[in-house]
Amino acid sequence: MKNTLRKIVLPTILLVLAYGFWISSDFKEIAAGVAIFLFGMLALEEGFKAFTGGILEKILKRTTNKLWKSVSFGILSTTIMQSSSLVSVITISFLGAGLIGLAQGVGIIFGANIGTTTGAWLVAGFGLKVKISAYAMPMLVFGVIMIFQKSRHIKGIGYILTGLGFLFLGIHHMKEGFETFKSAIDLAEYAVAGYPGLFLFTLIGIFATVVMQSSHATLVLIITALAAQQISYENALALAIGANVGTTITAILGALSSNELGKRLAGAHLIFNVTTGLIAIVFIHQLLVAVDLISAYVGIGETDYTLKLAVFHTLFNLIGVIVMIPFTNHLVRFLERVIKSEPDRYAHPKYLNEGSLEFGDTALEALRMETARVYAKATDVIAKGLSLDKEKILSDAKLKHVIREHHKAVEYDIDDVYEHEIKALCSAILDYTNQLSSSEPGIARKVSRIRLANQSILIALKDVKHLQKNMLNYIDSENADISYEYNRLRQRIAKVMRRLERIRLKDEGSTSILSLDALKLTLEKNMDLLHERMNELIRDGKVSAEMAISLMNDSNYTYSIIHNLIQINHNYLKSEEGSETEAEHMIALNREEIGTVLADDRVIAEKR
């Protein structure tokens, strides 16, 4: 059901977007802006990751280890960058990369809210505005050049610059797209007095900032409107409150591509700004008195409303921070409760735990169970990689029929499953075997067998990945001979998987390790037969030279897959307890002895 929904939702979104692009060029520009912005976020995170485990962590740790420090960091960085949205977005990427914790992130956001008020001072006092989009192009050029360098740190800086460049460019395109909306907003039309006016203008402030993606732009609008006396001083204050709330949209947008930590920070940003806004609305009269007093104290003229607006902006943000600081930990806990971690796409070990490391036998059993789990996942991947169904392979159905039923090639991303399902588990197993330093030679030997079994799993998967490339082309090929050969390869692997499963499922009274010898013999025999048949196919011109080369390579991959599947089970079974297992190990045939049986087999066949 979930998968069907997913299949429907994505094409629907794409269609709606395509229709939107067709009917409105503004919409196209805005959407492109959002896309560029999100891409910038990804690049930024990539860049910060290059510095993890080194200097950046040290700097961040030192500058954010106490709440006052992270608040100061927020103030300083926002004053320099002149964009609280950008600082919050960067903080989200810090969190995403695991460089800082949520409490520190919240501190930076608090600081950014104070830092952003310096913009109002600049605009009101000097009519200045740092236009960040002008930096986008050089940043992209320098950034991309740096990305192509070999040094990890230069590459990291390159990604950061490119990320910032794309962020600026994205915001620029969003603003451009909204130009039409901006001209449509005529503030003088909505002048309303009293509390209704306050709420209305706060909402307009939120809307304008969401639309323009910048509280700075809204502030410029407010200050110019105020200077032209288009709006009243009270309404301008309400707009500033709204702009402060609306600016959180950038962080929310940035958190879309981040993990749950980023989302929690965006949540903190929203809660903080909404609370601050509410405080400002409720205590607006008291704030106005305070603004008048402060303005008179610092020498701002009574009618200089633009600078008074800057005082107000700073004051209410400062009050917000002072009110919220004691609740920082509560806020963090609340967000952790509300925004839960998404289910991890990476598989986690089920049986390995630190506690059992001290007990050799228990640890060994945990390792065996975890390896069995990885093997089950790996055989599923192998089956899907061969465009087959594991359940059907392991059923009692005739394998020829199973292969015939699945004659169509099905694309399957082995790399993705390997990355998320297998790699993490295999590394956890290897880590665990490294930690398990048993002095008992018996256990150490078994642990080393488990390690070998896991190595074989990885090799088998790598081989299936290689085999898959040509197999997808040839199993349903018009050339019946090549199709037949590739289906034979699939059948052979499937047959071994089925026999191995039966050997594994046999009760304790069986001789499991010894049963593998027959499989080894079949493997060698089939390889010889395949070589003979391949020569025949080439000689008779039934397959092209290209096909013959593919078949030759892929038969080697098939050999390796089967060999490793047997080895996995061999080492896994050998890691079992019991004196009989040792006896089986002694009786098991080595390669030479299998060769002798094979030679005898051939002599008997020739006599017939």
Partner: protein
Amino acid sequence: MKFDNALKKKLLKKLKSYMNAEAEQLQQEDDGLSKVLKKLKKKEKHLKALIAAERDKDEREMLEQELNVVHSQRKKGITLLSSLRKKGDK
């Protein structure tokens, strides 16, 4: 220095088990091999019965192959067991 009887007995027991450690291990290996050989003999019989009943040529060939392997394993096991017993007799 005087040893009491209980301590003497304990020390003698330890000494005895130390002297017999190798013999005990040989016995364990002997037991393990014998058990596995019995199982292989049973498996051989079972395979022969399966071959006699199998009509599919490919399947029969595969079973015959497995029978050859089991036969070779038994031969190897018997050789190992006899050398183990000779070692024990010495």
